[in-house]
Symmetry: C2
Subunit: 298 residues, 2 copies
Amino acid sequence: MTIKEASELNYRYTYSGLRGGNLNEVVETKADIRLGNCETILKKIPDNFIDLIVTSPPYADRRKQTYGGVSPERYVDWFLPIGKELLRVLKPDGSFILNIKEKADKGERSTYVLELILALRKQGWLWTEEFIWRKKNSYPGKWPNRFRDAWERLLQFNKTKNFNMYQDAVKVPIGDWANGRLKNLSEIDKIRDNAKNGSGFGKNISNWLGKETVYPDNVLHLPTECNNKNHSAAFPDALPEWFIKLFTQENDIVLDPFAGSGTTLRVAQSMSRNSIGIEIIPEYVNLIKSQITQGRLF
Amino acid sequence: MTIKEASELNYRYTYSGLRGGNLNEVVETKADIRLGNCETILKKIPDNFIDLIVTSPPYADRRKQTYGGVSPERYVDWFLPIGKELLRVLKPDGSFILNIKEKADKGERSTYVLELILALRKQGWLWTEEFIWRKKNSYPGKWPNRFRDAWERLLQFNKTKNFNMYQDAVKVPIGDWANGRLKNLSEIDKIRDNAKNGSGFGKNISNWLGKETVYPDNVLHLPTECNNKNHSAAFPDALPEWFIKLFTQENDIVLDPFAGSGTTLRVAQSMSRNSIGIEIIPEYVNLIKSQITQGRLF
DNA sequence: GTTCCGCATGAATCGATAG
DNA sequence: ACTATCGATTCATGCGGAA
């Protein structure tokens, strides 16, 4: 058992104890999927209720009139009322992850995403970071003046600067360079720190000795999922999983206001997080209900 | 001599031959580096003169010691007069590649790059594409609310939709997944062919065997160069090289209005492209002059 | 000739301290 | 209060000399 696992186990015992239950009593997480208009249902959620919002809204598209066909020109105005509700329901230490990418139209990239970022900031959001989702197997195709689009934006917004971030939960294996070099590196550090001030170097060393994982950066390398789920724009499980690990703890509440095929809810529940989803198409709601354990959260 | 060098040499001979000259007559490319203010010198360049602009301007609030540093608030106003001249000197079928990345400040990303894109569009530029430069060895560090920044923007702007793009020049070796699969396939194919006396499967294989390169996508994976140059942050040679291959032919003219240590000019000349550079710091101009064959182009 | 090791160093960011 | 400076933190690379 690792220290981390022991720590988590200890937390669970403590948690159950505080509730006064016996050790077999597990707090079951709930997934609350609602059918209907996004803005309307958002208004029913209490203030400061959500720990993490992860969503991939319908992208603007001039041609498609079917699912969420919002034109680029109207996109910002369409999204802002939703952004306002999201700002209200998010806890002060929560985060909002928006997966979006502008399409090329008549040879140009649309600018509505840039305008959306500026508008959300004006609305009160902090634009904390832009992660890149690097899609390993991007959509194939060839055009005379454009290569395949192999990345999407993952925009992080916050209500305050002091949001929760559990960085240790997403550490990754250290690069190959370390195999032959790290042992010596720590020796160098020893010498350097001894020469500098002689104190506190042991703390540094403890960070490096036997190091096998490092913190990731702001580029996520994930394949798009090949299995079609009857939904046009499903992102891979690993995407919400990464942000749920990074920004929430067990029994927190995750919200996806454009639930689609329900990836976020399903992943959240598998990770013992509560979740709320909103979806306007009945077929998708039924699909989600078949994959989760339902329960009302508000 | 590598195969690549030999191939290039062979091409040069052929090229000279087509011109009717003897083999010693080489059309020499010129690199024209000028010391001075960017906007001032740009005004001396004729209209529709440049095939490709590749540059990395000083970012806002960076390089304060060397370039003085432009504040994020003033950045767009500072850049626009330069953008206007760049628009004038670029050929209608040329491209403009702008390498830039906003920094984090007080927990937020600055928005001046977004505003710059919108402003350049208003100025008449088409925002054709945003490439991602993924930096594997990004600057280290750890903060409570942020991971390391491992990517920069490579913004492509054009004057018209019908710009030159030589996609075949930047094809890349097919991924390792294909190599492994291809070897396995051919082994299986061998066995099958032996067993079945040629089932037609070999025909498919022949399609695969010739295929060694594929078109890249819009994410570039390049390490930053950490060699001891006298310029603080030169981008790697491979960066301008890729865009010069993609957007120009031999003897075209490449412009870098913020030449810095001269990477763009040096690479352009090594690829038999003419180049123009502007740099305001005398030491860098001298450094560049020591690395190129000079010649006036305007 | 290869491989390995020592070393330097990056367009970083935050929080604390100093003026 | 507001700005300027500094220390602490951290990972992947190239280069040059040594084995």
